[in-house]
């Protein structure tokens, strides 16, 4: 396969990954890393390096819309970014030293977990918002936004900040180890542990992904795992795909898409764990 053919395939695959990611609320890493490792035989370190840059690109695009919507809890995001950046830094260093095969097995396991989460998300849990507490305190992070679906104002104040902070270190670690956005960890941590309504936690998670992924991308770049010949076509394709995906998401049946994608993820995850390629 020539480089021209390779880069054209990468652009189209990344458009698909970006569209699926936007439609299902995932980053493109779950598609990009298996494609590069299983499909093209690239090293998993290089695949993760390319994926993490693509994750930054999609997060920047998503953040623009979410900030305009005012659903992002900015103060909470800045606070938790200390944790995600710490986790990402540690994760990138660990990933650099981890053997290729170990990282591949761990990535396969992650795909199976993401698939399970996609099935569960289809059941549609909705976190009730907490009332905002009165009074001035250190690091005030209360927030409220208007839910377009109901037309009602949703007010809340994040609780369990220490536990949430610890959870975000894990999210950063996962993001850097696997070249994913880490939204699959961030959203449940904010939603379940911290009592942040799911729409605000999704928006805040997307906003934070850019900084989380940037922390590890810098390490991967310095180590030579961000190859512009690979990461360039992917970044272009994934941004185009995420714009497309946001439009498709409103038309396609999210549940059907989720079920199909979950089955594919389980298959690819098992293949990576067993090393069948």
């Amino acid at each position: 396969v020539s480089y021209l053919e390779f880069s054209v395939i990468l652009v189209f695959a990344s458009v698909l990954a970006g569209a699926l990611g936007a439609a299902l609320g995932l980053g493109g890493g779950a598609v990009i890393v298996p494609l590069l490792t299983l499909g093209f035989g690239l090293s998993i370190h290089q695949s993760i390096g390319a994926s993490v840059v693509a994750v930054v690109a999609t997060s920047v695009g998503a953040a623009i819309a979410y900030v305009r919507d005012e659903k992002v809890n900015l103060r909470l995001a800045f606070f938790l970014e200390v944790a995600t950046a710490t986790g990402a830094l540690v994760g990138a260093v660990v990933a650099v030293f981890l053997p290729e095969r170990a990282l591949q097995v761990m990535f396969g396991a992650l795909l199976v977990l993401v698939a399970a989460q996609l099935f569960l998300r289809g059941k549609g849990t909705q976190q009730a918002a907490l009332p905002s507490k009165k009074g001035v305190k250190r690091l005030a992070m209360e927030h409220h936004f208007t839910d377009e679906a109901t037309g009602q104002k949703v007010a809340y104040e994040p609780r369990n900040r220490i536990a949430g902070f610890a959870g975000m270190i894990a999210a950063g670690l996962a993001s850097a180890l696997f070249g994913v956005g880490g939204g699959t960890v961030k959203v449940p941590v904010m939603d379940v542990l911290m009592g942040v309504p799911v729409k605000a936690s999704t928006a805040t998670s997307n906003f934070m992904i850019g900084v989380t992924a940037a922390a590890s991308a810098i390490v991967y770049f310095q180590k030579g795992y961000v190859n512009p010949y690979v990461a360039g076509p992917i970044a272009v394709g994934i941004v185009a795909g995420s714009v497309l995906g946001a439009r498709i998401a409103n038309r396609a049946s999210a549940n059907a898409l989720r079920a199909v994608f979950a089955v594919v993820l389980v298959g690819v995850g098992v293949e990576m764990i067993l090393g069948l390629h």
Partner: protein, 134 residues
């Protein structure tokens, strides 16, 4: 109240809603333009489009690995370096919004959030150092 009728509790929310989208769009636009330019130049230079992809995708291929090499390659033979610069601009875009937030909080003497955003910036800078050292 913001222009869209939604409420935001803290003054920086309105500031960020006004300036952040422009900053992020500019960073993403510049980064992607450089990535596309680097990609096209890479395809055209020295008949790279005909080469087996594994040759270019391997670590031994001539693309910059680190800031010093990036600077050197930008000055001498540019194609992959232009693409790498574009990728770095993309990566730097969310970092720029942390800088913006830090400056906002520091100018208004909100020391708690100024310290938080500064800690994030310190961690990102540490990433550059750690990647160089290990």
């Amino acid at each position: 109240l913001s222009g869209q009728g939604r409420t935001a509790e803290f003054p920086e929310y309105r500031f960020m809603a006004k300036w952040l989208p422009g900053l992020l769009a500019t960073g993403a636009g510049c980064g992607l333009a450089l990535v596309v330019a680097g990609w096209v130049l890479s395809l055209l230079s020295r008949g790279a489009y005909r080469l087996p992809y594994k040759l270019l995708a391997s670590r031994r291929a001539s693309y910059p690995t680190g800031f010093a090499q990036l600077y050197h390659q930008l000055l001498h033979h540019g194609a992959p370096a232009v693409g790498a610069l574009g990728l770095l601009v993309l990566v730097a875009t969310p970092v720029a919004r942390v800088v913006m937030a830090f400056l906002y909080y520091a100018c208004r003497r909100q020391l708690d959030f100024a310290a938080i955003t500064l800690a994030v910036l310190a961690l990102l800078a540490l990433g550059g150092v750690v990647g160089f050292v290990i």
